[in-house]
């Protein structure tokens, strides 16, 4: 139930009582309430749960996690291959 999906924000419109936007989820577009992400701008990836954005994905952190995982993997591969330790 706590599923939240990242979608790319394609438009932002002021609305009453909350701003709304359209987000693209891998080709599926849905209206999203932006009440909790006033900082979100077109092009940002917002994390959407039951029609409400609960956060903006931090692109730097997303890349950093993958970089760390890939680097750790390389070290292990080298070890498994009997390479320099």
């Amino acid at each position: 139930m706590c599923l939240a999906i990242p979608g790319r924000l394609e438009s932002v419109e002021p609305a009453d009582p909350f701003p709304v936007g359209t987000a693209d989820f891998g080709g599926v577009r849905k209206q999203v309430c932006l009440a909790f992400v006033p900082e979100a701008a077109v092009g940002d990836y917002v994390l959407v749960h039951v029609g409400f954005a609960i956060g903006v994905i931090d692109e730097q952190e997303a890349l950093r996690t993958l970089t760390v995982l890939r680097a750790m993997g390389d070290v292990i591969e080298t070890e498994l291959a009997g390479g320099p330790s």
Binding site: M1, A4, F18, V37, L47, H49, I54, D58, A62, I76
Partner: protein
Amino acid sequence: MKYLEEYRDPTLARRLLAELAAVATRPWHLMEVCGGQTHTLVRQGIDELLPAGIRMIHGPGCPVCVTPVGVIDRALELAARPGLVFTSFGDMLRVPGTSTSLLRIKASGGDVRVVYSPADAVRMAAAEPDRQVVFLAVGFETTAPANAAAVLLAESLGLANFSMLVSHVLVPPAITAILEDPECLIDGFLAAGHVCAVMGYTEYEPLAARYRVPLVVTGFEPLDLLEGILMAVRQLESGRHEVENQYARAVRRDGNKAAQDTIRRVFRVADKDWRGIGTIPDSGLVLAPEYERFDAWKRFPAGPRPPEPASECVAGQILTGLKVPTGCPAYGTRCTPRHPLGAPMVSSEGTCAAFHSAGRIAPPLMTSTEGPLS
């Protein structure tokens, strides 16, 4: 989709498993709190790929599973009222109450509607002003801001025909209750990433210090889960007990302030009954006094409650990790997703349903080393 597929890379998953095997020197028990994480762990078979001794215990983080029978029965009673529109997230429809379920009431003519968002329920109330529309507001902290915003939306539209049957639960008091149990075997926790996207993780810091357990805020994709497990095991192996954040792309330490402000404006904290577990102090949310006019519990006077029948369901022990589904005699026989005896067999995030859909079978009662042909 971006930010999902990259975190499903099987090559990196294998490397994470190799690293975990290199780091772990002794058995450790870790609990993933969130039912969404249970679903991924079991569906992908990650829990069975872990090095021997690293055991995942599946926690109570499935709102469908912990919603008390009394709430379900109240929902059923309202849903059966002529003229009333009853709205709910889809996964609540098959949850068994004392005698029936929302799905059966819908099948027999009740106006039960599945909504994707609580805002959809508010829009229905605006479109049908002569009918009462009730929304079954269940969930953890992830869902609380959306449900709170729906109340504010109804207020801004001046709706007198919208109300909520609230049964909201909070994660930190549940973790505390699990850690206080003398039978607790858990060495570390994977904290639920989306709950923390809303609330941040400062609430968990005193828990890590007091109970000397690592808590790693973890995402939902296979690589997230494996990295969260690795971070927790590294802490345990080096004698640390801290809050760490694996899911930094979505979670900041202070969480989402605007969402927290909305929760605090609309709800207040109260003691809460959890199905299968019992009452946990300060572990739930109810509507704040200023918004009580949207409270379905108060708007519709309650009829008498039927007594809860005895059940062989061991949901409480499943939800706190004391039993696994395959150890339950009813699992897969008298209790299946089509005919659930208890809530953990209903939602795909329930531990029993996750096990069942992954084809996990109960161990045979008697094992024989001789096959029929030997």
